[in-house]
């Protein structure tokens, strides 16, 4: 089982807190909406991800569990910056 970040695009209202709190995995497009790296969460980022999830005012950001090798519901674009934070 691995954990993955996902955004519910209907609930999302582009508040942008997720990108501030988790820049390693979330960047904002030109309209302020998040592009999320949906690959398996690195252990050192889990706590930051959970904080970002709590900060989302509309509950649009989610961490979901997925079985190994399960495909996400749709493919995710890869973020430019993928270095982990200390």
């Amino acid at each position: 089982m691995s954990r993955h970040l996902r955004v519910d695009p209907i609930a999302c209202e582009a508040h942008g807190m997720c990108a501030e709190l988790l820049p390693e995995l979330v960047e904002l497009d030109e309209w302020g909406y998040p592009i999320v790296d949906g690959r398996a969460l690195a252990p050192e980022l889990v706590e930051h991800a959970q904080r970002a999830v709590r900060a989302c005012p509309t509950f649009a950001l989610l961490v979901e569990q997925r079985a190994a090798h399960a495909h996400p519901s749709r493919p995710r674009p890869q973020p430019k910056n993928s270095s982990a934070v200390s």
Binding site: D8, C12, E30, I35
Partner: protein, 442 residues
């Protein structure tokens, strides 16, 4: 508008009797197709023989996704538990270039309703809902009359007709479920699946109207008969809407694997030379004339072009039309048809249409890079497939009409840009302002 079939052996099937009777009432329907078979309801813990037959026939949904119908029926049966399931017939047909579902319901409604009733029995449904677009009152009237006629058939599962909003995304599966549940007719984020929790939280078998018509025929004639037409991967007949510069545009019934050439011939041939063909609808794919010559209408042949038959739209574009102007118009319309739920779709498709318009008007030089960039930003980030479909349409247009786009980019609009539109759009004016984005937040 003509309703006909190319003279192929074994056709017409769905449209049998339509040429003679026009619209088939119950008497004519029973005369042409015979009575629906009395299939026993599935026993406890076992599934219906009809599902086995549909599975052997290899029937795929005719709404655009091509999902194997038997798998859907199995899934609904498996999710059933103690509850009654639901059957929903989707005839909403929000695709402007598609006329097959309304044609089917106006010509031979009982075949669709037969299929729905048979499927309902097979999945132990408690109710059947037939969804028709509220912008097609004549279809509503015909189907309602047909449903009333069926009272004497003493079918036990109640059937009702529901009018659903017109609109491109309103006919999407989850949008229909939302509408039937009293919410706005907008798609929802995928889980849970409709066959598990659909209308009223009950497992729901939702399929296109044409799919149910095929079920009705498979029940009568069997899987072997069904496979007598079409290909191994995509057996059976299918309805296509042929539009554009042919003598007799309209709805045709063909077998999968029919060549485009023979379809055009059956429609009386071209009235001007062909520039390109759009396959699948406004979320489909353009194919240039040079490659369209050998095209056969089955997904195996279409896949290398990035296309699939989808909802059966085959829209021809003649030399006299301006492909750039047509693309811009449809792209603007697609942007307007966004359900307005997801930022990347609302703002993204608006940007795509806006940049395309500027490119076509010669205001933006070469707009190709920008379109590619926008596509990579938007793709996959909506709750439904609408933005992806629109991007596919635009990307194929830019590829197939590269020369025309480059020409417009450097020299601005061409003489044909203001000609009468070739691709049909419901009541849309070119140059309408993009819709206000207020309301984008909840």
């Amino acid at each position: 508008m003509s309703v006909a079939t190319p003279t192929l052996a074994g056709l017409p099937r769905l449209l049998a009797g339509v040429a003679e009777h026009g619209s088939l009432d119950l008497v004519a329907h029973l005369d042409v197709h015979g009575p629906a078979p009395e299939l026993p309801a599935p026993g406890r813990g076992r599934h219906s023989a009809l599902i086995d037959e549909v599975e052997a026939a290899g029937l795929r949904g005719r709404g655009g996704a091509g999902y194997p119908t038997a798998l859907k029926m199995h899934a609904v049966t498996a999710a059933r538990g103690r509850r009654r399931t639901m059957v929903v017939v989707n005839a909403a047909e929000g695709e402007p270039a598609s006329l097959k579902d309304r044609t089917l319901l106006e010509s031979t409604p009982h075949l669709v309703l037969d299929g729905a009733a048979l499927a309902a029995r097979a999945v132990a449904a408690g109710e059947i809902v037939v969804c028709v677009g509220e912008d097609t009152p004549e279809v509503l009237a015909t189907v309602s009359a047909a449903a009333a006629e069926r009272n004497r058939l003493r079918e036990r599962i109640p059937m009702r007709i529901a009018a659903v909003p017109g609109g491109y995304v309103a006919g999407q599966e989850s949008a229909i479920v939302n509408h039937l549940d009293g919410r706005a007719a907008k798609p929802r984020h995928t889980p849970p699946m409709i066959f598990e929790r659909g209308v009223g939280g009950r497992p729901t078998l939702l399929s296109n109207a044409e799919t149910f018509a095929h079920v009705a025929q498979i029940a009568r004639h069997g899987a072997g008969w069904f496979r007598g037409l079409g290909t191994a991967e995509h057996p059976g007949s299918t309805l296509v809407t042929l539009g554009g510069p042919v003598v007799a545009p309209g709805v045709y019934e063909i077998g999968h694997g029919t060549s485009l050439r023979s379809l055009v011939d059956a429609a009386g041939g071209l009235t001007e030379s062909l520039r390109a063909v759009l396959i699948g609808g406004y979320s489909g794919t353009w194919i240039g004339a040079s490659q369209a010559g050998d095209l056969t209408l089955d997904d195996g042949c279409l896949a290398p072009h990035g296309a699939s038959t989808g909802a059966g739209v085959v829209a021809l574009l003649g030399e006299s039309a301006c492909p750039v102007a047509e693309t811009v118009r449809v792209a603007s319309w697609l942007a307007d048809e966004s359900a307005g739920q997801c930022g990347p779709c609302i703002f993204g498709l608006d940007a795509v249409a806006g940049r395309l318009d500027e490119w076509a008007a010669g205001l933006a030089g070469d707009g190709r890079e920008e379109q590619l960039r926008l596509a990579s930003v938007i793709r996959g980030r909506g709750a439904c497939r609408h933005p992806d479909g629109a991007l596919r349409f635009v990307a194929s247009a830019i590829r197939v009409f590269a020369a025309e786009f480059a020409d417009h980019g450097s020299r601005g609009p061409c003489g044909a840009c203001t000609a009468a539109p070739s691709l049909p759009l419901p009541g849309y004016e070119r140059g309408s302002p993009t819709p206000a984005l207020a309301g984008a937040w909840r």
